[in-house]
Every structure is written in C-alpha cells, then in structure tokens.
Amino acid sequence: MHEPAHDPDVLLLARGLRKVYHDPERGEVVAVHGLDLACRRGEVYGLLGPNGAGKTTSLRMLSTILAPSSGRAWLDGVDVTEDPLEARRRLGFLSTSTGLYPRLTGRETLRYFGELHGMAGAALEARIEELVAAFDLGAFVDGRTEGFSTGQKQKISIARAVLHRPPVLILDEPTTGLDILASSAMIAFIEGARDQGACVLFSTHIMSEAERLCDRLGVLYRGRLLAEGTHDELRARTGAAYLDGVFLALVREADREARA
C-alpha cells in the first residue's frame, strides 16, 4: 500500500510512529511517541539522541524488525506494516553490531543475502566481485567472519547491506566501536550512497559526525522528536553556534517543560 499523495522523492516517511512495550513489572512503557519524519532521495538524515532516547526502537520499526503499536511508515512508498516483506527488499540495514553470521565466510554471507533477494548465478557472482573490488574485501572475503577484525566485519556488513542496491539505507549507530580508519571508511560510504541517490537514515550520538554528514537532523529525546531541520534551521531555532549546543538547548528545554 502506498502512502497518500506519494512523493516519489520521499523514500522514507514516518507518520505518528508509536511503540509501547508491555513490561511485566512497569506496565506499559512508551518507547517512541508519535514519530514523524521524512527522508528524500539523495539525502542523509541523522537521528540524534542520547542512549535510551528511542533511536534504535524507531529504526527497528522503520526496518520492520518491530511492529509499530500505532502510526504508519513507508519505505520507497511501501507500507512497512502492510507489506513488510516488500519493504525489506527496498532496504539496506546495518545494526550497531555488525551482526554477521560468524561461521559463514564473507563470500557465503553475501551469496546468502543475494540469493534471498532473488539474485542468482553469474549476475550474483558478478555483483559480489564488484563489491569485493569496491570495498577492498579480496584479502579476507573467503575467511570465516568470526576471525575478522572490526573493520573487516564492517566492510562485509556494508557490502551485505547494499548488495541488492536498495534505495533506502538505515544505519543504527554505524560508527560505534570503530577505530578512526574504519569510521572514516563508513563516513565515506554514507557520502557515496547519498551521491548515488540513496536515502540514508542513521542514528548517532556523535555530534561531529552528524554535523559533517547530515543534510537534515532530528533530535530524539525520551521517545519524542524535539526538533527537525537543517543545521541552519536548528541553529536559528536554538541560537546555538554548534550542534552540541543545539542538542543541549533542546534537551534542557524539554526537561523544563516536563518539570513544568
């Protein structure tokens, strides 16, 4: 099902996404309160927030890992609740941990995902070789991933996420735990994906990274999107010169409102 008045350039759209967990001890816990956001083709959208803000839950709902309690979301025009399978086919997802199957080799991992995406034979092998060359995987792609360094795992994960050329990329704290070299490679990858027209949504709590990469930003705090816009729009709203200041100003304002 397509969202009403579908804009073909909006590849990721969320409207009123809400997630409630049922905790046996605490009762109902609202992790995300009505999230609205949109990300366009060739745009990098950064979701900023401290730990526990609801970033991962939001990304999990958008990537069909969790079902929203209410609200709707669309990936490339496909409703993630109505047709999660089709939505997954249009998505490249990277979790905080690389999430690689440790007993498979890098090549087996890529082949497995390729086959499940309906790729086969020479076309699949050619695509794998293309990724091996693009991400410089040749030296280790035939080893089991359990023996890889963090950087090598990250490269295989990226290759796995873009194997089927998805129009939407969702990355959950993609640089967490990476050294400077691996971080730089990840940032280069995101910039490259934007240049190729992908819509990239990623979460982070590293302000410098967000400042450098993001075309637009959303600040999530205690499950609520406090503000959304370009750097300039956010700076103008808060009067802060840097993103750190923008973030702190928004969070303090939210805390004041909560106390009041």
Binding site: Y21, H22, P24, R41, R60, S63, T64, I65, L66, A67, D76, V80, T81, P84, L85, R88, R89, R90, L91, F93, S95, S97, G99, L100, Y101, P102, R103, L104, E108, Y112, F113, E115, L116, H117, G118, M119, R144, V162, H164, R165, P166, P167, A193, Q196, G197, A198
Partner: protein
Amino acid sequence: MPPSPPHRAPGLWRATWQVARKELRSSFRDRQTAIYSVVLPICLYPALFWLMIQGAMLVQGRREHTMVRVGVAHAPGIEVPAGLVDALVAPPRAADEAGGEDAPAEPAPAEPQAVELERVEVALLGVFPDAESAWGEWTARADEDRDALLYLAEDAQGASASVLAYDSSQGRSSLARRRVQPRVEAFAHALRVELARARGADPRSLEPLRVEERNLAPDEEMGAYVLSMLLPLLLVVMAVMGAFFPAVDLTAGERERGTLETTMILPVPRLAVHQGKIVAVCVSALVATSLNLLALGLSAGHLLEMISAGAALEIELPLLAFAAIAPLALLFAFSVSAVLTGIAALAKTFKEGQALLGPVQLVFLVPAMAAAMPGLELTPVTAFVPVVNVVLAFRSILRGEVLPLEYTLTALSLCGYALLAIAFAVRVLSRESLSVAAETIPLRSLVRYLRSERGAR
C-alpha cells in the same frame, strides 16, 4: 543506486530451504553440534562394543583367577562322602555339568589350567547342629575370606537335606555358589550312577524325570527380538540428542551472537525463517539418527551377541522395516525438533538454552523408556500416546508384526503432533518480545509469552 531492486525473490518454500541450508552449514561448523550429531553416533557403537569386550574380558579374567573358599560342615551322624572334597576342588567337565549319561563315577582329573583358573579351596569344619550355626562359625573366622558353605544333612526320612549357603550381597560368595553348585550336582550324579551299578540297576531308573533347557528360537528371530527391544529407544534418544544442540545454537545461540537483527531483516517471510530453522534442526536430528542406525548396522551383530550373553544372533534390518520406520522417524524428528527449537528460543544465551532444554528432554526420554519395557503393545489407543506410540510402532515393525490399522493411526497421530509442535515453535519464534527481551523467558511464563504481541511478518 537504482530506485528499487529488480530481482524476483524466492517463494516461501524455496526461502525456507535456503534458510535451512544456511543454518545447517553454520550449525555443522559448530564443534558441539558436529560432535553430537555426527561423531558420537558414528563412534558410539564401535566404542561401546570395544568397551564391552574389554570389560567382559577383564571381568572374566578376574573371575577365573579368583580363588573361592568353601567350608564343608555336616550334621551329627552324617559323614562327608569320600571324594566330595576332590570333586569340589576340581572343576567339572562340561558333560558333568550337563548331567550326561556317561558322567564318570569319579571326579574328572584336574587339568592344570582349569585348576589354576577356577580354584576352590575347601575346609572341613566338622559337626554342627544346623547350617546357620555352621555359617556363623565359618564366616566369623577373620583370618581369610569365607565365601560359601556346604552343609550336609538328612531329613527325618533319611533323604538328603544338604544346604549350599552363601551371601548374595557379596560378589565372591555368589561366584563361589556358581562354581560349587555344578560340582556338587556332578558329584551327586556320579554317586547315583555308582549306586545303581552296584545294585545292578539301570542308572536312568534313578532319574525318571530329567529336564533340560533348550532355546528353540531361530537366531534371526532372536536377533530381531533383541533389536526390537533396543533400537526403538535408541532411535528416540538419538533424535533428541541430534536436535538438542542445533536447536539451542540456531535460537539462543543466535541471540547471543547478536545476529538476530540480521536474520530479521532477511528479505523473506518470517515464516520461512522460522520454518528454515525447524527444518535445519530436524535434518540434524535425522542425520544423527541415520548415522546411528548405520553404525548400529555395522556393529550390531557383535554388540548384541555381547548383550545377549554369547547367544548367536543374526541381525538384519529388512528393507521393508526401514521403509516403514523412515516416515515415522521423520514425523517424530519434526515434533522433537520443533518443540526443542521453540523452547530453546526463549533463552538469551546458549548456556541458558541448554539449561532450559535439560528438563524438556525428559518429556521425550521418560515415556520412551517406559514404552521400551516389555509388556506394552501397540494398540489403537497407545497409537495416540505421544512418544510411546513411536517406540511401540518401531518395536512392532522390527518384530515383523503386520498391524496396518495401528501403524496408520500412529502415523496420523505423529502427523498431528508434528503440526502442533511446528505451530508452537513458529508461535514462539514470531513473538516480538523475543527480539527485545533482555533476559531468558522462564518456562513458567510461557503461556503469557505466547499471548504476547506478534512481530512483523
């Protein structure tokens, strides 16, 4: 990047198989799974066979070299017959033990090796009023082992009322009984023959009724019987063992390794992922069971010969029996795999998964052991009792019994249980809380968990 993927994704069953294939590849690369599903079934029987032979040789050797001490006492007025002590000391010949007609009047000449190996030392204790007082006196001697006592007495009519006293709670004493009893019987038989000859009578007239045990079961039927008692239980045990580690590895192990999110974004229906895992666990169980059967087939003859105390057995698993057992084993393996997968999925770590499955294994093993006891038969009623039905059906098939109604009912009930088990496992795996639960979900919360929110399709 192109705006959307142009590829045609696999359907539900193809995706199920692709997931299962990947899970199997991954699972068999795990050392524990490989050991329990492949190495153990292959090595179990040869190892067991070798151990039993070694053990039997050891026990037999120790037994033969063990000397036992037997006291001989007698009631007042009774004399120890001449030659008795020599007969006790010397091992009887096979014919004597069998009580053959040509049994010699005198004890067999002691062959050096036989005397050396199965020695009996005899002590004459003298006169005692009864066997109990003689036993008390004999066993009270602390200087050396006292194993058995032969007390010679007569009843009021003058018939022999002799007693061979021993202590069955002592291994040596039981050994003494087994060694002395045939020698006493052989000596008594020799006495009867001698007496009859002295009176000019036919020795056979002193023994008008003589009973000899003879097992007329053909070797192949005996083999089928022993196999039918042993194999069904082993099939159940191996199916459970074969499914155990893959079930934990593909569920709790996946959560522990942090690959659950990756699996959940696979571009296939979640049902295919769940089914793929169950199929992979089931294939592991079947591999373990098949290898077990193969290893058993290769070493069964020797092994069962040992188990059945040296009886010559012909072990043969007819093709027809295999054909009948295979579909039942497949359905049973699906039930076991689905239940174990469903339960193991509740665990957060591999270790906790093992702990959860420990008691669950018993759900299969206890009824299987109960059904393996002689006496229970496959009937239209027992065909519906879970686990028991499969053991009884295997047993009937191996015995060559033709029970079409019972086999059909067993197959139908196994089908039903397998579907129920798969539905249970899919329900567990499809709950959303599985991906967000921070801890292992305890078994006591299973019902509440099953009622919780379902995740995305």
